[in-house]
Symmetry: C2
Subunit: 148 residues, 2 copies
């Protein structure tokens, strides 16, 4: 229905319709950004051989959404992301003033998403927010690498 | 062979023989305590429902031992232990002077082992050391509980 409306509004122009849809999703995501997230999942990912491990806490608004496949997949993919590219912070707001870091590598949310490098981690979280209709937040992560 | 020798030495007294064996294992464990541990495993345990998760780094001396079933089981059980009884420290040496904590709860190594409350976590690590013949050390842990 949303697609049909966007196509009508774009007078059949597919590219324009996609743009309209993306903009709408963004607005929906932003409208949820202030909602409190007290439910969620702890998820872990151990890389083959057990030399690298990562654990994340991902929060949403209700236990119902926490138990959906979309949310579970997001939590798992985020744990895998942390194992693959070690972040120092979750978001750029956490970077201490004057710190010499590259935000696109140091901040989990700004990192390129390992399974689709054209997107950022923030993008795939926004996609899940649009799908499940709840605010989603990564509240913490831990990453262990053998002997480091 | 070790059992037979202990029995001979104890002149057939089973209880005394068990005592001798335990003492010998302890000596073997102590003789390994100074050996460096650079290999090992990162292991995680997520409690049912994803509300609690724990991750540990357990080290041994060689990659060969890290890949044994005994060592893997130890790492898994230690992650489960951390999820079940939240430790603050690994060993009593880490407790800051004057801190008001109960070492038997606060230190992972002194906690009663969740799968056999007659033993401590240190005991089951010592048992694995005796089995695999290498020094074993827990070097760090992380524990996440939803919303805490």
């Amino acid at each position: 229905m949303a697609c049909r409306n966007a196509l009508l509004e774009a007078k059949g122009d597919m590219e324009k319709a996609a743009q309209i849809l993306k903009q709408r999703n963004l607005l929906r995501v932003e409208s949820k950004a202030k909602r409190s997230t007290t439910q969620g999942l702890i998820e872990a990912y151990i890389h083959t051989g057990g030399r690298i491990g990562a654990m994340v806490e991902v929060n949403c608004e209700t236990d119902f959404v926490a138990r959906t496949d979309e949310f579970k997949a997001l939590a798992y993919n985020l744990a895998m992301q942390v194992a693959a590219i070690p972040p120092q912070f979750i978001s750029p707001e956490e970077i201490p003033e004057g710190a010499d870091v590259e935000p696109q590598t140091a901040c989990l949310l700004l990192q390129p998403y390992i399974k689709d490098l054209d997107k950022t981690v923030q993008d795939i979280i926004a996609e899940t927010i649009a799908k499940v209709g709840e605010n989603i937040r990564v509240s913490r992560f831990a990453r262990f690498e053998l002997g480091r």
